[in-house]
Amino acid sequence: MSWTTLLLLAAGAYGFKAAGTFGLARFMSGDRARGIGALLPPALLAALIAVGTLSTEQSLVVDARLAGVAAGAVAVWRRAPFWVVVVVAAVVTAALRRLTDGALVLT
C-alpha cells in the first residue's frame, strides 16, 4: 500500500468523523435534533449487533456466535458487570466452536 493511499484513507475516515462532529450537527437544532441524536446510537448499534451475530460478509448465517451473544444478553438481563457480559459471550462461543469443531454453521 502506498503512503498516498494510506493518507487518503486517513483523511477520508477523519472527514466523516469531523463532518458529523462539526458540520451536520449545525444544521440541526432543538427537540428533533436531540431526538435523532439520541436514537441514532440504538439504531446503529442494534444493526451492528445483528450483523455481527448473524452474518459473515454478505451471507446470513447462524453459528456459535448466536449462542454466545444470547448468553451475553442473559448476563445483561441479570445485570452482570460489563466484563462478565463480554467474557460469557466469548467463552460460550469458543466452547461451542470447539465442541462442534466449527461445524455448526447454518446458512
Binding site: 487518503l8 484513507l9 469531523a18 445483528a50 454478505q58 448476563a75
Partner: protein
C-alpha cells in the same frame, strides 16, 4: 502520591473499567490486524501509522483485505470508507454531549467510533456520557495501537481471535450498552428497526452499507414514537455529588 490516588479514583469509575475491558478485547484483534497488514506488504511503519491515523478497525481490515485479494487501491479505500461513514452519524450524536474548545472536539472526533459512542451513550446518568465516551475512545485507542505494533513487529505468533470467541464479545458488549435505550418506546423501535433493516440489507449490498441504512430506523422511530424523554441525572441532590465529580475528573484528565 497524588497521582496514585488519582489513578485509583479513575479505576474506581465504572466506565473507566468498562473502557479498559473494551480496549483489551479490541487489542486482541489489533494484533491480528498488525499481522495481516505486514504479511500483505505494508511496512511496520505504515501499519502502525494506519492504526494511529485511520483508527477505525473494520475499515482497516477491509482496506488490507481488498488489497490482499488483488483489489485496486481505489477499491480498498472505497470499501474502507463505506465502513467508516457511520462514524459521521456518531459524530452528530456525540457533538450534542461534548462541549469545549475546537481542539478538544477535534480530538473527540478522531476517537468517535462504535465503542466510544456506545460506552458514552450507554451511561444511565447523563453526567457520565462524556466520561464514558473518553474512557471508551482512549481505552480502545491505546490498546488498538499497542496491539497493532505487537502484531506488526512480532509476526504470526498469535492465534485466531475468533477461536477465543471474541467475535461474539462485541455484539454482546453492545447489547449491554444499548440496554438503557430500550426503556422507552422510541429506543425500542430504533433498535428493532435498525437490526431488521441491516439484516435485510446484508445479502443485497456491500459490507458497511447495511449499518448506514439502519440510521433510517432512528428517523422512523422519531416520527412514530417521538423523541425519547430527556434524560435526567440519577443523582438526587442538586449540588455536584461526589460521583459526578469523579466523572468530570475522568473526562478532564482524559482530554488533557
Amino acid at each position: 502520591m497524588k497521582d496514585r490516588s488519582r489513578t485509583r479514583q479513575l479505576l474506581a469509575t465504572h466506565y473507566v473499567r468498562d473502557g479498559i475491558v473494551l480496549g483489551l478485547t479490541v487489542g486482541v484483534f489489533a494484533v491480528g490486524f498488525g499481522v495481516l497488514a505486514v504479511t500483505n506488504g505494508l511496512t511496520v511503519l505504515q501499519t502502525c501509522a494506519m492504526s494511529l491515523l485511520v483508527f477505525t478497525g473494520a475499515s482497516q481490515f477491509a482496506a488490507v483485505g481488498v488489497l490482499s485479494s488483488g483489489g485496486s487501491p481505489a477499491a480498498a479505500v472505497g470499501s474502507a470508507l463505506l465502513l467508516a461513514a457511520r462514524n459521521g452519524f456518531y459524530g452528530v450524536t456525540m457533538s450534542q454531549h461534548i462541549r469545549g474548545s475546537v481542539v478538544k472536539r477535534a480530538v473527540a472526533a478522531h476517537l468517535t467510533i462504535d465503542e466510544s459512542t456506545a460506552l458514552g451513550t450507554g451511561q444511565d446518568d447523563p453526567a457520565d456520557v462524556e466520561g464514558g465516551f473518553w474512557a471508551g475512545g482512549i481505552g480502545v485507542f491505546v490498546f488498538w495501537n499497542i496491539g497493532t505494533a505487537i502484531g506488526a513487529v512480532g509476526g504470526g505468533a498469535i492465534g485466531d481471535p475468533n477461536a477465543l470467541g471474541l467475535d461474539a464479545a462485541f455484539p454482546a458488549g453492545f447489547i449491554a450498552l444499548v440496554a438503557p435505550a430500550l426503556r422507552h418506546r422510541s429506543g425500542q423501535l430504533a433498535s428493532i428497526g435498525g437490526a431488521v433493516i441491516a439484516l435485510a440489507a446484508v445479502p443485497l449490498v456491500q459490507p458497511g452499507i447495511p449499518i448506514l441504512l439502519a440510521a433510517g430506523a432512528a428517523v422512523i422511530a422519531l416520527a412514530v414514537a417521538g423523541a425519547p424523554p430527556a434524560p435526567t441525572s440519577t443523582s438526587t441532590s442538586p449540588g455536584p455529588p461526589a460521583e459526578s465529580e469523579t466523572g468530570r475528573g475522568a473526562a478532564g484528565g482524559a482530554s488533557a
